[in-house]
């Protein structure tokens, strides 16, 4: 039952990863070129048909899969790399200096990804990177808070107290004791954030704040499909479906992991 969630999540992610991996070395057609007449229905040789310009939808979907994973990985990793050390530091110290990161991340929390992306896109232009950075920055507070709370929990354990008393440097305690102990919680958060990042990228691209025409991300494809909703609604189906599958995969993975680590998570959250 518990494993079911995890396995389903992994299967869905697997589909996306395979699409992306194959897309790295081979796509049926060049996704940036016009290889057929516009708006062909699914068939042969264009398995999922062609888009409004006549490019192969499957090829673009495959090429989009890798960008989608890239967006997820970069934005989640970026947020974790910044947020987790801050959270651990804040969790290991006492006094106002411990509060500072929490309050700063509260301020940051006031800027949702969309707001950041709007400002960022205006500042440096909309692109896949803009979307990744905006999503990443907006995800930082979640990691800070979680890492901080989890660190508190771990710090109350006797062996950490012992390590501190015996003079082991703080950094070593953080790396050797705290990090491994809070890793499961962070893993769950990462997986959930991954799903959110994919959705956010789609939203940003829809508004024209995300990936440009050079990158056929799923959000971008959805936006382009908008113009053909009535002639070829199926164009809006594929990227929408892909987004749903990927997001659901990571959400389910998060849930599955949570169930797996359940007893520890319950006391922490």
């Amino acid at each position: 039952m518990k494993r079911g969630t995890l396995n389903l999540g992994l299967t869905l992610i697997g589909i996306v990863v395979v699409l992306a991996a194959v897309g790295l070395v081979w796509t049926p057609f060049d996704p940036t070129k016009i290889t057929g007449s516009p708006l062909q229905p699914p068939g042969w040789p264009h398995v999922l048909g062609t888009d409004g310009l006549g490019a192969d939808v499957l090829s673009r979907l495959m090429s989009g899969a890798k960008i989608c994973l890239l967006v997820g990985i970069v934005s989640v990793a970026g947020a974790a790399v910044v947020g987790v050390p801050i959270g651990i530091f804040s969790g290991m110290t006492r006094g106002w200096i411990s509060d500072l990161p929490a309050r700063l991340s509260d301020i940051l929390y006031g800027f949702p990804a969309l707001l950041l992306a709007i400002l960022l896109a205006a500042a440096v232009g909309g692109s896949t990177w803009t979307a990744m950075i905006a999503i990443s920055v907006a995800t930082i507070p979640a990691f800070v808070r979680l890492a901080r709370a989890a660190t508190y929990q771990v710090m109350s354990h006797g062996y950490i107290e012992a390590a501190r008393v015996s003079g082991i440097p703080k950094v070593a305690i953080a790396v050797r004791h705290v990090l491994p102990n809070i890793a499961p919680v962070l893993g769950v958060q990462a997986s959930v954030s991954f799903g959110i990042a994919i959705l956010a990228e789609a939203g940003l691209s829809y508004l024209g704040l995300g990936s440009g025409p050079e990158a056929p991300t799923w959000g971008r494809m959805l936006r382009e499909a908008q113009d053909y909703l009535f002639n070829a609604p199926i164009l809006a189906l594929w990227p929408g479906l892909a987004i749903a599958v990927a997001t659901m995969g990571f959400n389910l993975l998060g849930d599955g992991l949570r169930d797996l680590f359940d007893p520890r998570l319950r006391e922490m959250s």
């Binding site: 509060d99 309050r103 509260d106 301020i107 929390y109 006031g110 800027f111 949702p112 969309l114 707001l115 709007i118 400002l119 205006a122 500042a123 901080r148 709370a149 508190y152 929990q153 109350s156 799903g195 959705l199 789609a202 939203g203 829809y206 508004l207 959805l222 908008q226 909703l229 009535f230 609604p233 809006a236 929408g240 987004i243 749903a244 599958v245 997001t247 659901m248 959400n251 389910l252 319950r266």
Partner: protein, 320 residues
């Protein structure tokens, strides 16, 4: 004493955050490349004309002078006038806020009304097929982009069936009936996703609560599962659920922008997008400031409530 002191410290942080946030907002918006003069003049502009317009709009004054001018206005609740149209910003934001408030408020209300029973059901029946099915449905709801759902709702209900308007907004004061008709689809698409988020939250909270000792006590004195959940479970979920809803509300005011775009609703989010695209900084700053402050305020209120109201949580708070 200690509680008061802790609240005091929190208040100081809060005021500091407000000030810092306002400065950051002003800084960021002023560093945006491109300027209003150019946008107003379009592909017709000559450099001299743009410079003259900038001068006229007061954009050539030093940065700090402008920041202080702006803050002085903000504290008197006067956001100045739009560079773009010369109209006062306050009524503009008020009318935009009205739309967003209805959209987000009703959307959230509908989401809560759906989420509490659905989430509770999924929790209570989590070992049964129907409970799992409900959970799975909410998973799907979470994974579908809200704007995508909105697009399909428009195609089905507005375009094909013609039952409801596809977009636009009619004020309640103009025609309550039209107001409602125009809000049904956008509120529904917002609520579809929000109710998935909330129902999963309710589900896990209900599961947690049903493992609590007081829940077992309630059952032992004769409450049914539903009765115990309603009488003792919901009371305990309420605070954290309200927190989640409150924070969601603030972020949704802008987050609903995708829905506003799909349904051509003149809300805060689309006003922000429009103002940014025109570099109408006065409006951008006003909206961003209000939203960020709203989030900070809600955060602050939640913290203080935890400190004052529920000592059980305070102890938890001390840990953090």
């Amino acid at each position: 004493m200690t509680v008061l002191r802790r609240v005091g410290i929190r208040l100081a942080w809060f005021i500091g955050s407000l000030a810092l946030a306002s400065f950051l907002i002003f800084l960021i918006t002023n560093k945006l490349p491109g300027n209003i003069a150019q946008v107003i003049l379009g592909t017709n502009a000559s450099p001299g004309e743009a410079a003259a317009l900038e001068e006229r709009l007061g954009l050539t004054k030093p940065f700090f002078t402008r920041y202080l001018d702006w803050m002085a206005g903000v504290l008197r609740f006067d956001f100045g006038v739009s560079y773009y149209s010369g109209e006062a910003i306050n009524p503009l934001i008020a009318s935009r806020f009205e739309v967003s408030a209805w959209l987000v408020g009703l959307g959230m209300l509908l989401a809560v009304v759906i989420a509490i029973p659905v989430g509770s059901y999924a929790a209570m029946r989590r070992r049964h097929a129907d409970g799992v099915a409900v959970s799975a449905l909410s998973q799907i709801g979470l994974a579908i982009p809200a704007f995508w759902a909105g697009i399909w709702l428009v195609i089905v209900f507005a375009v094909n069936l013609g039952w409801l308007p596809a977009g636009g907004y009619v004020s309640w004061w103009e025609s309550p009936g039209e107001w409602l008709l125009h809000l049904i689809l956008p509120v529904t698409s917002l609520a579809l996703v929000q109710s998935s988020v909330l129902s999963r939250y309710v589900r896990s909270a209900v599961i947690d609560v049903s493992h609590e000792d007081y829940f077992r006590t309630a059952r032992a004195v004769g409450w049914s599962r539903i009765g115990a959940l309603w009488r003792h479970g919901m009371r305990n979920i309420a605070i954290s659920l309200l927190t989640v809803i409150g924070l969601q509300l603030a972020t949704l005011l802008v987050g609903a922008i995708l829905i506003e775009q799909v349904f051509a609703l003149p809300g805060l989010g689309s006003a922000l997008l429009m103002a940014v695209s025109r570099r109408d900084l006065g409006i951008v700053q006003a909206i961003v400031l209000l939203l960020v402050w709203a989030v900070l305020l809600i955060n602050f209120l939640v913290d203080v409530t935890y400190q004052l109201v529920d000592p059980r949580l305070r102890r938890r708070g001390e840990l953090q």
